[in-house]
């Protein structure tokens, strides 16, 4: 197992840098993971990350991309409710990259 060091504390991750223990996640860790992904977190990023965590809490899985875009659209306006906006924030793909920063497990399968 790998690990990352944030604020003097060690956090276990899997081989790809996803947090192993979801409950250990905090804003500082999110910032750290985002940096390793070359992303500077803004309010817009946080909006997505927070929604992912809320959804995960309820459903034990990240939301489908469409569910995510719809929710962002409702909150921030229709012009932001599309996957282009999300790819702008998370260039590697909102599904995986945003999940990683939010401390959620990586979606697996044909995605």
């Amino acid at each position: 197992m790998s690990s990352i060091e944030v604020g003097g504390k060690s956090y276990e991750t899997d081989e790809e840098g996803y947090l192993t223990d979801l409950s250990e996640w905090n804003a500082e860790v999110a910032d750290y993971i985002a940096k390793t992904e070359n992303i500077a977190m803004t309010d817009a990023h946080w909006e997505v990350v927070n929604f992912l965590r809320e959804y995960f809490e309820e459903y034990q899985i990240a939301p489908a991309v469409r569910v995510l875009t719809k929710s962002i659209g409702k909150k921030l306006g229709a012009e932001k409710g599309n996957s282009e906006y999300l790819y702008g924030l998370f260039p590697y793909g909102p599904g995986k990259q945003a999940c990683k920063i939010a401390g959620l497990p990586k979606p697996t399968g044909c995605v």
Partner: protein, 510 residues
């Protein structure tokens, strides 16, 4: 991802210059203890791996006669050598299909042939050392089991089967791949590759009903766990989750709606994909397939229809009968297989592909389309390897090529073909099939997409193509990821039923 660049297009698409060792390495992430134990595999590499591996090889050679024939028949003519997309893209000579087979064949010769036992060096026989085992792990995870090479082999040697055998041996000694084995565990535990629990699935489907209502004004339903429905739809879980996959799911629902077909999904069996095939493990393959039977019996459906998923359709078309009793071939002593036989409506093919379903409805004039709704697209079709070379559709040979194309022509005005030596049975793999659609193999995936990207570029340049349709969840995810690296918009790829969805006229021609 930024540091992986696309290889340059070849000016003349011939055998590339060799780069020995170009793809040497450790291979994709190895499955850890928890992942392996969850599916009954040894947790990690066992101490007596050498003896166990040879024993397993012997077992496979006696169980699968084809494997022994493939080991003995190759005359190293080289017809396959430049047919593999991974060889073309990586230039590593060990990715020539014949060379990949020889990684396995050399060990076979050493332990299972007389000359190899007596004079190993003379016949290219090798001991199974740890180095050889590692080499297997690396290079047998650089084959997508697409079977293009076997089309060109004068003996019909199926490299995919050799890869499957190698992976099964690796798994049997605790040296399996993380991506595939983790996914298999999720299917058994939760019901699909993604790990979507029923509540999330239901939430997503409700959202889709709202969206379609908003878009069309019609109450198109996405039913789940409905007993007594006519059709059970088994589709890849990516259809619930990812883009562009979900647009095809909407397309299936609209077809069922417009034809007045009662249908249902199953939360217990919410996956068409079957990664048991990728790792060559019959027991896993069967166990995963039996979930479909369980759902069909539980829900009392009359038809089983499979969504847009390449290897799912190969498993369904070629093996579902003996695995589960759907279609012909149910074991007389298998009570549940017999029950399923009685339950299903044999006026229809069991199982059917969603493209067969839709095409039948088009032919019966039960669907109508406004083709102009797809006028923004100039469309080409990428044949998915498992559909093209491992299955059929309809009642005519080559139906798996014609039916998806027929549907596209029925719903859109502009359709063009890519180069004929790269379509139909000669199609190139997308570069992400066979259990390789994982981020840790991204470099391989990008390079393996090269031959498909070259011919796509041709029709883009010459005929203005701006949409490539396909009927496989892996193809969709792979292209969405790698096409931007080649300078294409990721939204250029989508499903056949995405096009159906755009053009279908709802509420008419019941």
């Amino acid at each position: 991802m930024a540091d992986i660049t696309a290889p340059a297009y070849r000016i003349i698409p011939i055998i590339p210059a060799l780069k020995p060792g170009a793809m040497e390495g450790k291979g994709p992430f190895v499955a850890g203890d928890k992942i392996n134990e969850a599916i009954g595999f040894p947790a990690h590499l066992v101490d007596d791996w050498h003896d166990k591996a040879i024993e397993k090889m012997g077992e496979l050679l006696s169980k699968y006669r084809s494997l022994r024939v493939f080991m003995d028949a190759c005359v190293h003519c080289g017809a396959c050598s430049d047919k593999c997309h991974y060889f073309i893209g990586t230039q590593d000579p060990k990715n020539m299909p014949v060379a990949r087979q020889d990684l396995f064949r050399s060990v076979y010769r050493r332990y299972f042939t007389l000359p190899g036992k007596l004079f190993p060096k003379l016949v290219g026989a090798r001991d199974l050392t740890r180095e050889v085992l590692d080499e297997w792990y690396n290079y047998f995870h650089q084959c997508s089991e697409c079977r293009r090479c076997s089309v060109f082999c004068p003996y019909g040697i199926d490299t995919a089967e050799v890869t499957m055998a190698a992976r099964e041996i690796l798994d049997s000694v605790g040296y399996g791949q993380k991506y595939s084995n983790e996914i298999i565990g999720k299917v058994h535990k939760i019901g699909n590759n993604l790990g979507l629990p029923p509540a999330a699935l239901i939430n997503t489907l409700e959202g889709l009903e709202e969206d379609v209502k908003e878009d069309t004004g019609f109450d198109v339903r996405f039913p789940i766990d409905v007993k007594g429905a006519e059709v059970l739809l088994i589709t890849p879980s990516a259809d619930f989750f990812a883009e562009p996959h979900i647009d095809s799911l909407i397309g299936y629902a609209k077809v069922f709606h417009a034809t007045g077909t009662s249908w249902t999904l199953s939360s217990m069996s919410s996956e068409a994909g079957n990664f048991g095939m990728f790792i060559g493990n019959y027991d896993q393959l069967r166990k995963i397939a039996l979930r479909i039977r369980e759902a069909a019996l539980e829900l009392g459906v009359r038809r089983i229809v499979i969504g847009e998923c390449g290897h799912a359709w190969r498993v369904a078309y070629s093996f579902l009968n003996t695995l589960t009793g759907a279609g012909d071939g149910a074991d007389a002593n298998d009570r549940f297989a017999q029950m399923l036989q009685k339950q299903l409506d044999h006026r229809y093919k069991q199982p059917s592909h969603i493209c067969e379903f839709t095409w039948d409805m088009i032919e019966d004039e039960r669907l109508s389309f406004d083709k102009s709704k797809n006028d923004q697209h100039i469309i080409t079709f990428h044949d998915s390897c498992n559909v093209a070379r491992g299955s059929g559709m309809g009642n005519l040979p080559g139906g798996q090529f014609e039916i998806p194309r027929n549907i596209i022509r029925a719903v859109a005005n502009h359709f063009v073909e890519m180069a004929p030596n790269t379509t139909r049975e000669q199609t190139f793999c997308c570069g992400g099939g066979g259990g390789l659609l994982t981020d840790d193999l991204l470099e391989l995936r990008i390079k393996g997409a090269l031959p498909r990207m070259e011919v796509l570029q041709q029709v883009v340049d010459e005929q203005g193509v701006n949409f490539m349709a396909t009927i496989c969840a892996i193809c969709k995810a792979q292209f969405t990821k790698v096409m931007p690296v080649y300078g294409f918009d990721r939204r250029m790829v989508g499903g056949v039923h995405q096009l159906v969805s755009n053009a279908i006229v709802l509420g008419k021609n019941k």
